[in-house]
């Protein structure tokens, strides 16, 4: 279980962590520490263990071995396809769910909580869509509503599972702006992604492929050897006259990500 104090200057810590859903862990040998205010991009193929790591960090899944610690209760933004699109809630209702982290779950949402939800929706550009049913929003709008829920939770650590997957450019730009604001405000942000190029903009990169392949600054981690170990057959090196480019084969209707080959 994730927990609060005792982590000192470490916002997120994994130490010899292994986790899975049956007898055999799907993720093992994960050890890293993230200082408060840092941003981390988690790279890896589908099934590489990104979501499993996040489920451990938010306390939904117990480690099979090792330990994980998060300073305070993290906010979590799931992949939108993992939410119930047929469930009758509005974008404002979703944002208000972030207020449950403050306790008093047995009481109806108060005026302050509603004001926080409206402010979060405005921050992600959904002020006019507060009453629209979540399942009727576009993919990018849904992702922003989930981000608004995380903002209402007002956590020191935010964990986002492929927040830009299948998102339209306008939503991606808005989400990127919010990331920048959060990092400027000293929040620790962990983001899983298939976009190798965007990983260069983070403070640290964590590469997973059933185990920890690498962790460190992008300049040290994003070399061809590490990426091949991370993506294996899901990475193709293109040689089309210019510099070699690596393309990661992606799923869930993601666009292909490219980066300059080392």
């Amino acid at each position: 279980m994730t927990g609060g104090g005792g982590t000192g200057a470490v916002a997120v810590l994994a130490d010899g962590l292994a986790a899975g859903y049956g007898a055999e862990p799907v993720l093992r040998d994960v050890s890293f520490a993230v200082a408060p205010g840092r941003s981390v991009c988690v790279l890896g193929p589908n099934g590489g263990g990104k979501t499993t790591l996040f489920r451990v960090l938010i306390g939904e899944l117990r480690p099979a071995a090792g330990r994980a610690r998060v300073a305070g209760r993290p906010a979590y933004v799931a992949q939108t396809e993992r939410t119930r699109l047929d469930f009758p809630v509005s974008a404002r209702d979703v944002a208000l769910m972030g207020a449950l982290a403050r306790g008093r779950w047995w009481l109806p949402a108060g005026r302050q909580e509603r004001a926080a939800a409206d402010a979060a929706l405005e921050r992600v550009g959904l002020a006019a869509e507060g009453d629209v049913r979540f399942g009727e929003l576009s993919g990018g709008q849904r992702q922003r509503a989930l981000l608004a829920r995380a903002l209402v939770q007002d956590a020191a650590v935010l964990i986002l599972d492929e927040p830009l997957a299948g998102v339209d450019p306008a939503s991606a730009a808005l989400i990127g702006d919010v990331f920048d604001e959060l990092r400027a405000a000293g929040r620790t942000v962990l983001v899983s992604s298939h976009d190798v190029e965007s990983a260069r903009g983070f403070d640290r990169v964590l590469c997973l492929h059933g185990r920890q392949v690498a962790f460190g600054p992008p300049a040290e981690v994003l070399d061809r050897e590490t990426l091949e170990a991370t993506y294996g057959r899901e990475m193709i090196v293109l040689r089309d006259g210019g510099p070699a480019r690596a393309v990661t084969v992606q799923h869930h209707d993601h666009a292909h990500g490219e980066h300059e080959g080392a």
């Binding site: 938010i58 009758p88 809630v89 769910m97 779950w105 629209v132 009727e136 576009s138 339209d168």
Partner: protein
């Protein structure tokens, strides 16, 4: 006879008055609870639990004990057995549950058909809202008040867990505990409602109302209020039908509930146009 008098005619009979009150109290709660049962995909669990408590009902009838006591004991025993049967990964949870439920129904029928047993199997299987006692009505009223209060208090956690369990866990909720609370409410509702609708028909009060209203509401609260109101209306319609047509009361209520579900399921959906991606 004026139509209004025709409708109020059952109220002149003390027996039918109690039946109307019973189906209104039980229907009000089960119709509201049913939204969460259907949303959390617990319909098969509800059916298994309601059928599986039959031996408890029969034993209570044989011993002359209150049926509510037998239903509660039977529900607990059935829940434990179903949980154990569902854990056998070699045959899968559905198959294990089906075998256990069939065994429990067979055991209940075997006990009830003993030569010395009082002839009440039909009542236990199909319910008898016309035979409810003061204690049954008190239990139904307590279920509506206490269960309704629990549903109101659990409203936000239930919605958060149903919408996105990992997100709810990150916000500090325990999805497993929220679901256990829901199962406790389900077992309580079945134990009380089985008196009027029987082990085979009680599921109608839980599942038909949310099916009827689900396409026409925009919030969980709307679904609960709408489901509860529809269950009350269908229950009263069933008792009216039973009174005037001379049909079995429990079966009439179940048929009215299922008819409402069929109408609601094919009715026009209340929704806005999907937004562009």
């Amino acid at each position: 006879m004026e139509p209004f008098d025709w409708l109020l005619e059952p109220l002149r009979s003390g027996i039918d008055r109690r039946a109307l009150l019973e189906v209104a109290l039980v229907g009000g709660f089960c119709g509201a609870l049913g939204f969460w049962i259907v949303t959390e995909r617990l319909t098969y669990a509800a059916e298994s639990l309601s059928h599986g408590l039959l031996p408890g009902l029969v034993l209570a009838a044989l011993a002359g004990a209150p049926l509510l006591l037998g239903a509660a004991g039977g529900a607990v025993a059935a829940a434990v057995l179903l949980a154990l049967a569902g854990r056998d990964e070699r045959i899968g949870p559905d198959t294990g549950t089906a075998v256990a439920v069939t065994g429990l129904v067979g055991l209940g029928a075997l006990l009830a058909l003993e030569p010395d047993a009082p002839p009440r199997l039909e009542e236990l299987l199909f319910g008898d809202p016309l035979g409810v006692s003061d204690g049954d009505l008190a239990a139904a009223a307590a279920l509506l008040v206490a269960g309704g209060a629990a549903l109101a208090a659990l409203h936000r956690p239930l919605a958060a867990v149903a919408f996105d369990p990992p997100g709810a866990a990150a916000a500090g909720l325990r999805p497993a505990l929220v679901r256990i609370a829901l199962l406790v409410l389900l077992a309580s509702a079945i134990a009380v409602a089985v008196r009027g609708l029987g082990a085979l028909l009680v599921l109608a009060a839980l599942v038909a109302p949310p099916v009827a209203v689900r396409r026409h509401v925009r919030t969980p609260a709307g679904a609960m209020v709408g489901g509860g109101a529809l269950a009350v209306a269908a229950g009263l319609t069933g008792i009216e039908l039973s009174f005037h047509a001379g049909t079995a009361a429990g079966a009439s209520v179940a048929l009215a509930l299922c008819a409402a579900a069929a109408v609601g399921a094919v009715g026009r959906r209340s929704r806005r146009s999907p937004r562009p991606h």
